[in-house]
C-alpha cells in the first residue's frame, strides 16, 4: 500500500469514527427517560422545578424542539465549518471547554503511558531474562495483582498515605507537576500490568527466535543481543496495546479526574452527558476520537520502526 493510500484510509476511518461516535452521543437524550431540557435547567439551578413556560423558552432558544435528524444535521453542518456549536448550559463555544480539557487529559494520559511503558520494559525484560526464578514470579504476581485493584479503591489509599500522613504530595488539583504524580501513577498501574505481561512474553519469544540465535552465533554478546535484537523485537506486542490504552485513557479516566479534581476530558464528557449538554459531549467525543486515531497512527509508525525484521529488511511470510 502506498503511503498516500494509507493516509487516505486513515482519514476516511477517522471521519467514520467521528460521525458514528458523535451520533451515538447525540442519541443519548432521545433514548433516555426524562426531559433533557429540564436536565439542562437542573444543571444551571440545582435541584428543583422549572415551570413549563421556562422549559419551552429554553428549548426554543437552542432549537431543541426540532426533529432529531434536523438537530443532528444542524450540528454536522456547523462541524464541517469548524464550529462545534454552543454549550446548552453556559451558552459559550464548545471549543472553549473542550480544548483546555483535552490538553489536561493528553498530559495526564501521555504521562501515565510514558511511565507505564518505561516501567513495563524494565519489569518485562527482567522477568523474561529471569524466567522461572523468584524475581520473575514476584513481578508476575505483583503485576497480576495490580490488574485487580480498582482505581476508586487505590486512589483514596494513596492520597491518605502520600498527602495526609506523609505530606509529600498534594491530595488534588492540577496546578503543579507534583499534583500529577498520584493520578499519573494510578492511571499507569493497569497498563503496567498488561504491558509487563506483553513485554515478558515478547522477549521470551525473541530469545528463542532464529535471528537472535543467528546474531549470537555471529559473536554478539548476550547484552548486545538483548539490546539490539531481543528487546526491540520483544516490545512489539506492547506497542500494539499502547494505542488502545491511550484511546481508553483519553475519555475513560473520569474516576481519577473526579477524585483528584482534575478538569480533564473524561469528566467533561461524563458531566455533559449526565446534564444533557449534548454539544459539549459531542465536541468532546470528536476531539477524543481524533486524538485517538492520530496517536494510534503515530504508534503504528513507532511499531513498524521498532520491528527489527523491517529494519533489517526481512519480509514477513
Amino acid at each position: 500500500m502506498s503511503p498516500l493510500t494509507a493516509v487516505l484510509r486513515r482519514v476516511v476511518g477517522l471521519g467514520a469514527a467521528v460521525l458514528l461516535s458523535s451520533f451515538a452521543v447525540f442519541l443519548v437524550p432521545f433514548v433516555s427517560p426524562g426531559d433533557p431540557v429540564r436536565a439542562l435547567l437542573r444543571a444551571r439551578m440545582d435541584f428543583g422545578e422549572a415551570d413549563e413556560a421556562t422549559v419551552q423558552a429554553y428549548a426554543e432558544q437552542f432549537g431543541l424542539h426540532d426533529p432529531m435528524l434536523v438537530q443532528f444535521g444542524r450540528w454536522l453542518g456547523r462541524f464541517f465549518t469548524g464550529d462545534m456549536g454552543l454549550s446548552h448550559i453556559s451558552g459559550t463555544p464548545v471549543a472553549d471547554q473542550v480544548l483546555p480539557a483535552i490538553g489536561v487529559t493528553l498530559s495526564l494520559a501521555g504521562s501515565a503511558l510514558l511511565v507505564a511503558i518505561l516501567v513495563s520494559i524494565f519489569l518485562g525484560v527482567i522477568s523474561a531474562t529471569h524466567a522461572g526464578k523468584w524475581t520473575d514470579k514476584l513481578i508476575t504476581s505483583v503485576t497480576h495483582a495490580l490488574i485487580a485493584i480498582p482505581e476508586y479503591a487505590l486512589a483514596p489509599l494513596l492520597v491518605l498515605l502520600f498527602a495526609v500522613r506523609w505530606s509529600l504530595l498534594p491530595s488534588a488539583g492540577y496546578d503543579s507537576p507534583a499534583s500529577l504524580v498520584l493520578p499519573v501513577f494510578i492511571l499507569a498501574l493497569r497498563p503496567i500490568s498488561f504491558f509487563t505481561v506483553a513485554v515478558r512474553s515478547g522477549v521470551l519469544q525473541a530469545l528463542d527466535s532464529e535471528h537472535v540465535l543467528a546474531a549470537r552465533a555471529r559473536g554478539l554478546s548476550r547484552t548486545q543481543a538483548l539490546t539490539r535484537h531481543v528487546v526491540p523485537h520483544g516490545l512489539l506486542p506492547m506497542w500494539t496495546m499502547v494505542g488502545v490504552w491511550f484511546a481508553g485513557l483519553l475519555g475513560g479516566s473520569v474516576i481519577v479526574e473526579v477524585i483528584f479534581a482534575i478538569p480533564g476530558m473524561g469528566r467533561l464528557i461524563f458531566d455533559s452527558i449526565v446534564d444533557s449538554d449534548i454539544p459539549v459531549a459531542q465536541g468532546g467525543v470528536v476531539v477524543v476520537v481524533t486524538c485517538a486515531v492520530l496517536v494510534t497512527g503515530i504508534i503504528d509508525l513507532i511499531h513498524k520502526l521498532s520491528d527489527p525484521t523491517v529494519r533489517i529488511g526481512v519480509r514477513h511470510g
Partner: protein, 513 residues
C-alpha cells in the same frame, strides 16, 4: 456529579481516613494575631458552569468568594433581613418598593455603584431565558432607577417578601462593564471585599483584597475558591491543610475530621429534609391511615444515627426545629408497630403486589435508607421493593402521579430565607412541584393568606399552622433534617458558617501565620 463508584470511593476513603486519623498530630489552636498577608483557600462543592450567569447557581460561587453583593442581606443568626448595598427600603404601594442605595460605594473597577447599575443587573436576570427562582418576571415586574441613589422595584402582585428576594444571590449587582457580548465577566466588577483576578477553568477562582471596600478593612490579602465536587476530596484538602475551609463535608468523613484536633467541624441545620414522598393521589397512600402507619413504622433516630452517621437529625415534621416557623411542640414520631398495624387494617388496604420505593441515584445514601424502610415496613405487613433511578429519569412519572413512594429531598429556602415558595409549590393543590400530589383546601387558604401577610411574626404563625396541617395529614414521612457541615482549619479566624451557603470569604475572615 452522579457516579456510583464515587460513593464506593468515599467509603474506601472513610475507612482509610479512620486508619490514619490516629496518627494526626494534635496542635493547639494558635493564639496569634491575624496575618495581613494571609490568603484563605476554600474547597467549594460547586463549580461554576453557566458562564457566570447571575440567574444560575454560579451566583453562589461569586457570593461565597466575597465578590458579589446584594441590596439586602439575610442575617442567619438574627433571622432577619438587613441592609447591604441598600441602606433602607420602604413599600410605597401594594406593588412597589423603593430602595435607598448606599452612597460612596464603588465597583472594584473604579466605577460608581448607583441605581442605574442596580437596574441593569436585575433586569439582566429578569430578561434571562431561564430566570432565577427568586428573581423572575413572576415575582418582579419592573426595576427602574428613580435617581442616582434610589431604585424602584415593581411586583406583579403584593409581595411582602421582596426584601428577602433582594437578598438572593441571583439579585447580585455587577458593574456595567461585566456584561459583555460573550457573557458575564466578573473580574474586578463586583462591590464585595474580594475582587476576582483570575480563574483556572474548572479548577479555581483567585481573589485579591478590595482595598477600597465600602465596609472597611478587609483582613485577608486574598483567597482562592477551589471547585471540588467530590466530598471525600474536600475533606482530605482540609485535613492536609491544602484548604483552610472545606464546605459540605460528607457524613462518611465526619468522624475522622471530628477526631482531628487541627480541624473545627461546624454543623448547622440545613434547610433540607430527606423525605419519603408518598403519592397521595392514588391507592394505597390516598388513605391518611396508611400514611400515618408508614410514619409510625419508621425508626427515624436509628436512621439518622446509622445511615447518616450523626450528620442529620431525626425530623419532627416538615420544618427543622431551629426554623422560626417550626412548631416547637412537634416531637420525633415514635415507633408504634401495634398502632401502625391497626391503621393499616383501618385503611382497608389489601396488598396484592409489593409497593415501589424509588431511591434517586443523585443521593447515594438513599439506597441504604430505602433498604431500612423496606425492612421496617415488613413489621406492619407492607411489602416494598427499592429501585434506584436517576431523578431526571423518574421526574415526569412522579410529577404525573405515577409512583408509590420516592426518596428525595428539597431545599425549603430556595434562594430566599423564607419557606413560602416551598410551601406553595410543594403542597398546594395547584403547586408546580407537588410531588406527593397532596391537596387540602384549608392548607391552600393558609398559604394564600401568608402570601399577602406583611407582618413577619404573623406570617411565621401561618407557616406553623400550615406545617401542622401537613403533619396531621401525614402528607409525607419527613425522615431526617440534614446538617450543613464545614471543616475549618485551626489558623482560620472569624468564620461564620452559613447553612444557606452564600457567605464564606468576608471582610472579617482572617488567618494567623
Amino acid at each position: 456529579m452522579n457516579l456510583g463508584r464515587l460513593s464506593v470511593a468515599a467509603s474506601f476513603a472513610a475507612v482509610a481516613l479512620a486508619l490514619t486519623a490516629c496518627s494526626s498530630t494534635a496542635t493547639p489552636a494558635p493564639d496569634a494575631a491575624a496575618d495581613a498577608e494571609a490568603r484563605v483557600v476554600v474547597a467549594n462543592f460547586r463549580a461554576p458552569i453557566s458562564n457566570w450567569a447571575l440567574e444560575s447557581d454560579d451566583a453562589y460561587v461569586l457570593s461565597i468568594a466575597g465578590c458579589l453583593e446584594t441590596l439586602t442581606k439575610y442575617d442567619q443568626t438574627e433571622k432577619k433581613v438587613e441592609p447591604m448595598l441598600a441602606t433602607s427600603w420602604k413599600q410605597t404601594s401594594d406593588i412597589a418598593w423603593e430602595f435607598d442605595l448606599r452612597k460612596n460605594v464603588k465597583f472594584q473597577d473604579g466605577t460608581d455603584f448607583n441605581a442605574k447599575a442596580v437596574a441593569n443587573s436585575l433586569n439582566h436576570v429578569l430578561d434571562a431565558t431561564a430566570p432565577a427562582r427568586a428573581v423572575n418576571p413572576k415575582t418582579i415586574k419592573k426595576v427602574e432607577a428613580l435617581d442616582a441613589d434610589t431604585v424602584r422595584v415593581t411586583t406583579p402582585a403584593a409581595d411582602p417578601l421582596l426584601p428577602y428576594r433582594m437578598a438572593s444571590v441571583n439579585a447580585g449587582v455587577l458593574s456595567g462593564a461585566a456584561y459583555t457580548d460573550k457573557g458575564i465577566d466578573p473580574m474586578n466588577h463586583c462591590t464585595g471585599p474580594f475582587a476576582p483576578v483570575s480563574e483556572k477553568a474548572g479548577q479555581s477562582l483567585t481573589l485579591d483584597r478590595n482595598k477600597n471596600y465600602w465596609d472597611g478593612e478587609v483582613k485577608l490579602a486574598g483567597g482562592e475558591i477551589r471547585y471540588i465536587t467530590d466530598g471525600a476530596t474536600r475533606s482530605t484538602q482540609v485535613q492536609t491543610g491544602e484548604a483552610d475551609i472545606s464546605m459540605s463535608i460528607p457524613a462518611t468523613s465526619l468522624a475522622t475530621l471530628e477526631a482531628d484536633e487541627k480541624i473545627s467541624v461546624l454543623k448547622a441545620d440545613s434547610p433540607r429534609t430527606s423525605t419519603l414522598y408518598l403519592n397521595n393521589s392514588r391507592a394505597p397512600f390516598n388513605k391518611v391511615e396508611l400514611r400515618k402507619a408508614a410514619t409510625m413504622a419508621l425508626d427515624l433516630p436509628a436512621m439518622a444515627a446509622s445511615i447518616y452517621e450523626g450528620a442529620a437529625q431525626p425530623a419532627t415534621g416538615p420544618f427543622a426545629p431551629s426554623e422560626p416557623w417550626a412548631n416547637p411542640d412537634l416531637a420525633v414520631p415514635a415507633v408504634n408497630i401495634d398502632e401502625a398495624k391497626k391503621l393499616v387494617e383501618a385503611s382497608g388496604y389489601k396488598q396484592e403486589k409489593p409497593l415501589e420505593i424509588i431511591a434517586i441515584t443523585e443521593r447515594a445514601e438513599f439506597a441504604g435508607v430505602g433498604a431500612i424502610i423496606q425492612e421496617q415496613f415488613k413489621q406492619i405487613g407492607l411489602k416494598a421493593n427499592v429501585v434506584t433511578k436517576s431523578y431526571g429519569a423518574v421526574e415526569p412519572d412522579v410529577l404525573a402521579g405515577k409512583y408509590d413512594m420516592i426518596l428525595s429531598q428539597r431545599n425549603r429556602m430556595i434562594d430566599i430565607a423564607d419557606p413560602i415558595g416551598f410551601l406553595q409549590a410543594d403542597y398546594t393543590c395547584e403547586g408546580g412541584y407537588n410531588l406527593s400530589h397532596y391537596c387540602n383546601k384549608d392548607y391552600d387558604k393558609l398559604i394564600s393568606q401568608a402570601m399577602g401577610e406583611k407582618d413577619e411574626t404573623k406570617r411565621h404563625d401561618i407557616y406553623r399552622k400550615a406545617g401542622d396541617i401537613l403533619a396531621k395529614d401525614a402528607a409525607n414521612v419527613w425522615l431526617v433534617n440534614e446538617q450543613a457541615i464545614d471543616g475549618v482549619g485551626s489558623k482560620v479566624q472569624g468564620y461564620v458558617q452559613d447553612p444557606l451557603t452564600r457567605y464564606v470569604l468576608t471582610k472579617d475572615l482572617a488567618k494567623t501565620k
